[in-house]
């Protein structure tokens, strides 16, 4: 599939009646996303600004044909909400919530990976996040997430990041240069996530709208190294990267649950090295992501 969200994306918001849920559901609708339903157990039958609320995702899907979900459920119940969405046949589940226990996410991910777990369209359900800003595709006017719509502009740069605010930084820079974005995806700052760099890079490879990629990583884990190996063999489009945390002390969790150098592994230096060896143009400063891209694009 060359796009994960399109004009036919119909969104159900799990946790719609909460403060964050309401705020971001309305912002998504104002941007152009079809927000067709909300789910809050016990509040079925009510509405939020004209959006009908259901007691379960299954009911919301049945009544409204929702095929994507944005999850704002609190951390202690969020893994359950993700599994409920998958069981209801939702094809794309975007989990914004920060602070889900690791063991809960391991279970939710295993649940989604079962062969019998299929979305209504017959494909495997895709989870983006948790602890992420979500996904936005300016050309289709679809946003599922908490990113500020205003800074985006339809264009050709695919942006993928483990960090929310750094994604906005890359978006701001590419908008200022007139490049715009094809799709921006935050894969989240947790150690266990549904969609990784390689999934997203595969999407960008197959997406005709995407002509260049900005990939933003950070310390912790080895997802950037794995992505570098994949880029080397499988991606011809130009890639610019930035890795946050060159100055981070080892053994400390830098805000994100997944941003930690442990046992000397997961350093920025290792990641930068792997990416450079794969032909990726690594910006030394987060202020230079856009400029680095401009330098390598002939005629722009």
């Amino acid at each position: 599939m060359s796009a994960w969200v399109d004009t036919d994306t119909k969104l159900v918001v799990q946790g719609l009646t909460g403060r964050e849920g309401t705020f971001h559901a309305l912002a998504a609708r104002a941007y152009g996303t079809q927000v067709v339903a909300g789910v809050t157990p016990g509040k079925g039958g009510s509405t939020v600004e004209g959006i009908p609320v259901f007691n379960s995702v299954a009911e919301a899907v049945k009544k409204t044909g929702a095929n994507a979900s944005m999850v704002f459920v609190p951390p202690s119940a969020c893994a359950d909400a993700i599994m409920e969405a998958a069981d209801a046949g939702v094809a794309l589940i975007v989990a914004i919530t920060e602070g889900i226990p690791v063991n809960d996410m391991i279970r939710a991910k295993a649940f989604l990976a079962r062969p019998e777990c299929r979305a209504a369209n017959g494909e495997k359900p895709r989870l983006i996040g948790p602890n992420c800003p979500g996904i936005i595709r300016p050309s289709a006017k679809v946003k599922i997430g908490i990113m500020p719509a205003r800074i985006h502009k339809p264009g050709f740069v695919g942006v993928v990041s483990r960090s929310g605010t750094l994604t906005y930084e890359a978006v701001g820079q590419t908008t200022a240069l007139g490049f715009g974005q094809s799709t921006c995806i935050g894969i989240g700052g947790d150690p266990i996530n549904g969609t990784d760099f390689i999934d997203t890079l595969t999407l960008f490879r197959d997406d005709p709208e995407t002509q260049a990629v900005i990939m933003i990583g950070e310390i912790g884990g080895s997802a950037e190294e794995e992505a570098a190996a994949w880029i080397r063999t499988s991606l011809k489009k130009p890639v610019v990267s930035f890795i946050a945390g060159r100055t981070a002390p080892p053994g400390r969790r830098m805000g994100h649950a997944g941003a930690i150098i442990s046992g000397g592994k997961g350093t920025a230096a290792e990641k930068v090295k792997a990416l450079k060896e794969a032909g990726v143009h690594v910006a030394d400063s987060p202020a230079l992501m856009g400029e680095t891209l401009k330098k390598i694009l002939p005629g722009r």
């Binding site: 705020f23 202690s76 279970r107 800003p133 500020p148 800074i151 946050a244 987060p286």
Partner: protein, 388 residues
């Protein structure tokens, strides 16, 4: 969250993981009585969160109860310096007094999350006593790994595989298997992020025990473990970090001179990076989060300025959801209330940025505005009167 060795052992015993007999105390006389109870010979171990206690003189073998008293007198109250404490060391408040056992072999067992496969993995090695990172670097083949599923735990066949890999046989093999299964159960059920037994002891009688134990826990899961949450020892944490946590601020103290306040973890980390790139040194990591209010901004300023090393401040906000005018008001009020003697550079971007900039400009305060991250970093370094 980290806990002390004696607390980790308490938790592990609850899951049937064998440990030496022992108790914790802050009294040397009590330590002597315990040694007597254990037959005269005992090990006195300083209880601090950092590793490397033995090399720093925080672990001593007492051959008599009197020696246990002597050792305890020296250890309790000492500033114990190890490779993990920094040069200032950590004050020892308590010692764990344990029976001294007859050591036949020292092995290693540890469980942590393997992020690449998304499952916990139990690692064992015959080279107990050595740090596992060191073993991994020198002789990776010496480490045998067994990933297991959180839903059904470590299976007996997996435990057998590990015990055979360690060359154990007979009764000791059986005891090691039971040990591994219990350790895995403790790891999953307590939502641990690390359970490390180093050394894992095999005694001359063939018993298998946790001679040392280190456990860390998933902060996000502590809500369902109130008993473990009780083990938090604030004396083991930086006082400014403890203060910040009261206001839901994510603050980590570093040793540079440029304080920073940022929204978002990734941006906060890269703000530290860009300060260094511009020739300075970050004094802290501080993420005020996506929805910070005026009060939080004020507290954040107060906390980062209580670090005496801070000679300049960089505020870097990309307000997506957060409105720049609210941040600006918070900064202005904080500066007015606290009074700031160091230069403050502010970079604002995002929602209501013009209003935010106007508030800063019209405040009459000596706040240095910046455009973009690069400009901000350069201006803050320039304000120090140095750098490149």
């Amino acid at each position: 969250m980290k806990v002390h060795e004696y607390q980790a052992k308490e938790i592990l015993r609850g899951y049937g993981v064998p440990t030496p007999r022992g108790r914790v105390t802050d009294s040397p006389e009590e330590a002597g009585r315990m040694a007597k109870e254990f037959g005269g010979r005992a090990v006195v171990k300083a209880q601090i969160h950092a590793g490397g206690r033995g090399k720093g003189g925080g672990v001593k073998l007492a051959r008599t109860p009197d020696e246990a008293v002597e050792h305890s007198k020296k250890i309790i109250g000492m500033q114990l310096v190890t490779h993990q404490t920094g040069p200032e060391g950590r004050r020892v408040k308590k010692v764990l007094v344990e029976e001294a056992l007859d050591i036949a072999r020292e092995l290693y067992a540890g469980i942590t999350l393997d992020r690449a496969i998304g499952r916990p993995v139990l690692m064992v090695s015959a080279q107990g006593g050595m740090e596992i990172e060191e073993v991994a670097a020198k002789d990776p083949a010496a480490i045998v790994k067994e990933p297991f599923d959180v839903a059904w735990g470590l299976q007996p066949y997996q435990a057998r595989k590990l015990a055979y890999a360690l060359g154990l046989s007979g009764d000791t093999h059986k005891k090691a298997c039971a040990f591994f299964v219990a350790l895995a159960k403790a790891y999953v059920e307590t939502d641990a992020s690390l359970a490390e037994i180093n050394p894992l002891l095999v005694t001359g009688q063939g018993d298998v025990l946790a001679l040392d134990a280190k456990m860390n826990f998933d902060d996000n899961a502590l809500f369902r473990h109130p008993n473990i949450k009780e083990y938090r020892d604030l004396d083991e944490e930086d006082p400014l970090e403890v203060e910040a946590s009261k206001f839901d601020l994510n603050y980590i103290k570093l040793d540079g001179n440029v304080g920073c306040m940022v929204n978002g973890a990734g941006l906060a980390m890269s703000t530290m990076d860009i300060i260094q790139y511009a020739g300075g040194k970050p004094a802290n990591f501080l993420d005020v989060g996506g929805g910070a209010n005026e009060e939080q901004v004020k507290n954040a300023m107060r906390i980062l300025l209580s670090d005496r090393n801070v000679k300049a401040v960089l505020i870097n906000i990309f307000g997506g959801i957060m409105r720049c005018d609210i941040i600006a008001t918070g900064v202005v009020n904080a500066v007015k209330e606290i009074g700031i003697a160091v230069p403050v550079v502010v970079r604002l971007e995002g929602t209501n940025v013009e209003e935010g900039k106007a508030i800063l400009k019209n405040s009459g305060l000596a706040i240095i505005p910046a455009d973009g991250m690069k400009d901000a970093a350069e201006k803050v370094i320039a304000s120090l009167g140095g750098g490149k």
